[in-house]
């Protein structure tokens, strides 16, 4: 009997908390009520400058400096590898996928791109020239070291 009583006593507070959450408008990236379908944002244009971008940290997968719309990566074909694989780079003059992509997880070298690295756009993505949705306070390691030395 006691737990039921406890919940009944708690009820008014739960309602208050719920209202407070609604007022805060928790879904910040969603510009509409939860039950309303907002208008989809316009499709942006992918950058297509073919100029390499700086990496924020040494292990960062490089972002793609060109359009990849309609590039198919599936069981049958991989359009990225049609230029970036070891066999194609002489003709395409594209950078070869790094040697880590030819290694299995134990560090053994394979003849082909490792299956775990096959889906390029899991890590590598093209970039759009758009305003960021949220502020980014990322600092790269040089900036952090600089700040430390100043102190």
């Amino acid at each position: 009997m006691k737990p039921l009583l406890f919940i009944l006593l708690l009820m008014p507070f739960l309602v208050i908390v719920e209202q407070a959450m609604a007022e805060q408008n928790i879904a910040t990236l969603r510009s509409a009520e939860i039950a309303v379908e907002p208008e989809a944002p316009r499709l942006g244009n992918e950058e297509n400058k073919d100029i390499k971008r700086k990496r924020n940290y040494p292990m960062q997968p490089p972002t793609i400096p060109h359009k990849t719309a309609n590039y198919r990566i599936d069981l049958n074909s991989n359009k990225c590898l049609a230029c970036h694989s070891r066999r194609q780079v002489d003709e395409s003059q594209a950078p070869m996928v790094s040697v880590t992509h030819y290694m299995d997880r134990d560090g053994n070298f394979l003849a082909e791109v490792s299956p775990r690295r096959y889906f390029c756009n899991q890590c590598h993505v093209p970039q759009g020239d758009v305003k960021p949705l949220v502020e980014n306070t990322f600092q790269d390691v040089d900036a952090i070291l600089d700040n430390k030395n100043k102190k």
Binding site: N48, K67, N70, N76, S77, A82, R87, E91, E112
Partner: protein
Amino acid sequence: MLNKIKELWGTISSPSRYYSFGILIIAGFVAGVIFWGGFNTVLEATNTETFCISCHEMNDNVYQELKSTIHYTNRSGVRATCPDCHVPHDWTDKIARKMQASKEVWGKIFKTISTREKFLAKRKELAQHEWDRFKANDSLECRNCHDFEYMDFTRQGKRAEAAHSTGLAQGKKTCIDCHKGIAHELPDMAGVEGWQ
């Protein structure tokens, strides 16, 4: 039998007995117009997308794949239909291709690709036929719309410009060498030159 053929030949080779020269000329002309017109009408009717996708083999597989590509829907609304890419536009080449297509009627009757599984199993072979055809005619069907002479390299991406101004310009390469699978999904590309 032989006599009958001889009799027929006799009728054909001897001059007309009842009809005047003028009637024969005019009637022949009218009949010619009707036959030729009918032939061309049927030819054109089989040269439409509606005709192509009236078979479920085309409608359920390749047509569905085409729908999401730029040759089906794009900003300016210019569209390529099946025959724009798969049937030559010149008359003689078109007739040659139409005669080849009798093989496709055979395939329809004997259900060569009547299921998705059968189609996928045969996809590499079918795709290879199209690639070979495009290679042999220097991608003529592409060039019906995408004319190299009028390409503005300055409006192309760097990589596109590099490829088009070298291999394509020198005639060493043709459209299909690089642009495979732009309107349909690809078969297993293992072993295809330029892939992986």
